[in-house]
């Protein structure tokens, strides 16, 4: 009798454990049944999701990457920070190879909002969760990713560190809105208003101001050199891409009279940062926040 009871108890415990292995995850893209502790996660974006997974302590089994025909894949923003030896390349973020993903037998696939179109096909391999990377802040989708992978505690640590930097900045700079910052990316003969690696989110969280030309301009489109004076600010931040030799390629732009005439350039308040150093992740936010803390709050500089 006792033996039978013990077997029944073990069975019940087993059943409850099995039931607990799956959870329902819900966000604006719908409900998905996902494993509580996924063992093999495939990321459909290296510069945001793959980095954030590593930062949370989850080693993804597959990830998209950047690749030229005869070169090795480059996990942008990942491989200089984490060991990617066991990370399998599964194609590009615009067309991930579903067969390469199927080989890995993942139990979870995570993608960005513009990758919703892949969902129907990839759903046949494993549950696909789309995260609101383009419509929500990094903090918000990173929190969702942490919940999804059971790493909320690690996320809370990241959030705590980030919040401290922001509060420290605000303590040192009482009126941050009076300091204007322009974030841009210079190409060979034009520029765009982009702040990667969470830079724009950090600037917003710190409460820093933006010049009127920047506020009026549309983001994500190319502007000619003529428009650069509209974007003049106390501080100008550009990023270079080491993979593309962009530092050398854009030298003419920075040697132009229009560029040299900018307030931030004349007063050595132009910051030139590595574009792939920080990805769009919590680590990116923390890194960018420390950079701004040092360059803005912990040094003297002139205002326009």
């Amino acid at each position: 009798m006792f033996k039978k009871l013990a077997v029944a108890c073990v069975g019940l415990v087993g059943l409850s454990l099995q039931a607990a292995e799956v959870q329902t995850f819900e966000n604006q893209y719908g409900k998905v049944e996902v494993p509580v502790a996924p063992e093999c996660v495939v990321s459909l974006h290296d510069f945001s999701l793959t980095i954030q997974l590593f930062e949370l302590g989850v080693q993804p089994c597959g990830s998209v990457a950047r690749k030229r025909l005869w070169s090795d894949p480059i996990f942008r923003g990942v491989q200089h920070r984490f060991n990617t030896e066991s990370l399998t390349y599964v194609g590009s973020h615009k067309s991930p190879d579903e067969e390469a993903i199927a080989v890995l037998e993942p139990d979870l696939i995570v993608g960005l909002s513009y990758q919703s179109k892949f969902k129907d096909k990839l759903d046949q391999i494993a549950p696909v969760v789309i995260l609101p990377t383009k419509v929500k802040t990094i903090k918000e989708w990173a929190r969702q990713l942490a919940e999804l992978t059971g790493k909320s505690a690690r996320f809370e640590d990241q959030q705590k560190e980030y919040d401290w930097i922001i509060s420290e900045f605000k303590r040192l700079v009482p009126e941050p809105e009076k300091i204007t910052v322009t974030t841009l990316e210079i190409y060979e003969d034009n520029f765009q208003l982009i702040g990667r690696g969470g830079l724009d989110e950090v600037i917003a969280d710190m409460g820093l101001g933006r010049p009127q030309g920047y506020l009026d301009a549309k983001k994500g489109i190319n502007y000619s050199l003529e428009r650069i004076s509209d974007m003049d600010a106390d501080i100008i931040i550009d990023t270079y891409e080491p993979m593309l030799d962009s530092r050398e390629d854009t030298e003419d732009f920075r040697n132009s009279a229009q560029w040299k005439n900018l307030f931030a350039v004349k007063n050595d308040q132009f910051l030139y940062l590595n574009r792939s150093r920080y990805g769009d992740s919590m680590g990116g936010l923390i890194g960018s926040a420390y950079l701004l803390l040092s360059h803005v709050a912990e040094r003297d500089f002139k205002k326009q």
Partner: protein, 353 residues
């Protein structure tokens, strides 16, 4: 075999009790040859990919899926087969559209891209992806691209036939409108939001990455309806290529036949462009290859071009997804890379002849 190829004696094929077909033996031979080549390419394509499967195993999964593990059935039946079939159907549709256009314009350089369908579909797609993203669901984008293609082609036809139809006017107006729309698309690509533009660019390369069974059904529908109707018009096309006057003297009414043929061409092109993006190079090259085997006999030229077009796109897509796997090269890109040199050789040989 030499006897078959040299023979011009027609073979009598009785399709139904009251329907007979006369075909030249060499046409039947080349049609059978390229059909077998297509079958081989499909079977080869089903066996290659990132998921390592032997050719024998792939064929077993195709023939007896119930005996194979579910995982492998999914790879072959859900990932590979729809993609291969969409490639074949799009290639066939574009090749037929190319034959029709080259015949009604009597221009060897005519291709489905000429009448603005491709440019219209591309511009429509870009408008909905870059300017007003999210206004229509993703799965409806191809339908809107198709509608855009139809509208532009209708404009080309209306403008070219306002003062009486002439092939050269159709070509020139087509080139003009296509250039205008291409400039508009370029502008959107250059000045549009970089993330939105990126997702549209993959489609422009002629990618079959998202091919699925519903798309196979849609393409099958268009190919069967429009393709069959085009084939039934082979006698009119045989006459139209000799000139409007000759065709008219033999009872072909240009005013009715041309808009109808153009409509078929637009239907075939826009269905393909909406499904697989810009692959229209196949519409230029496939009819030229087919003419090497059956000249301008449209009864044979249409099906032979269709089969050759299908072979080209299946080959382009299979190479594109396997050469640098898991990196996926768009079929349209591979097609141009392998097709253009062959096309140049083909045309230079024709000149010598």
């Amino acid at each position: 075999m030499k006897k078959i190829l040299a023979s011009s004696r027609p073979i009598h094929i009785k399709l139904f009790p009251n329907v007979s077909l006369y075909a030249r033996s060499n046409d039947v031979f080349w049609l059978a040859f390229f059909s077998l080549l297509l079958l081989f390419l499909l079977l080869w394509g089903a066996a290659i990919g990132s998921y390592q499967l032997s050719i024998l195993k792939s064929w077993q999964i195709i023939l007896a899926p119930e005996l194979a593990p579910e995982k492998l059935v999914r790879v072959v039946w859900e990932f590979r087969l729809p993609r291969l079939l969409v490639a074949a159907l799009c290639g066939a549709a574009l090749a037929i559209a190319g034959v029709i256009l080259q015949s009604i314009t009597r221009n060897a350089l005519a291709s489905p891209g000429l009448i603005g369908v491709e440019a219209g579909a591309s511009a429509t797609m870009l408008v909905f992806v870059v300017i007003v993203p999210g206004i229509i669901p993703i799965f409806l984008l191809p339908v809107f691209a198709m509608i855009g293609g139809f509208i532009v082609a209708s404009c080309v036809w209306l403008l070219s036939s306002l003062r009486g139809y002439s092939p050269i006017r159709l070509v020139l107006i087509g080139v003009g409108i296509t250039s205008m729309l291409s400039a508009f698309s370029e502008m959107l690509i250059t000045y549009g939001d970089i993330d939105l533009v990126e997702s549209a660019l993959m489609w422009f390369g002629g990618s079959l990455h998202q091919a699925s069974w519903p798309q196979v059904k849609v393409m099958m529908f268009w190919l069967l309806i429009a393709g069959s109707l085009a084939w039934l018009c082979f006698r009119q096309l045989n006459l139209l290529i000799l000139g409007d006057k000759v065709a008219f003297s033999r009872g072909v009414n240009n005013r009715k036949a041309l808009p109808f043929l153009l409509f078929l061409c637009v239907a075939l092109t826009s269905a393909s462009v909406a499904t697989a993006g810009t692959l229209t190079f196949v519409g230029l090259i496939a009819p030229h290859i087919a003419r090497r085997f059956c000249a301008n006999r449209h009864g044979a030229l249409i099906p032979l071009s269709a089969v050759i077009g299908a072979c080209l796109v299946v080959l382009g897509d299979s190479l594109g997804r396997s050469m640098f796997a898991p990196l996926q090269l768009p079929a349209g890109l591979v097609l141009v890379l392998i097709g253009a040199p062959y096309f140049i050789v083909l045309i230079s040989r024709l000149r010598k002849a």
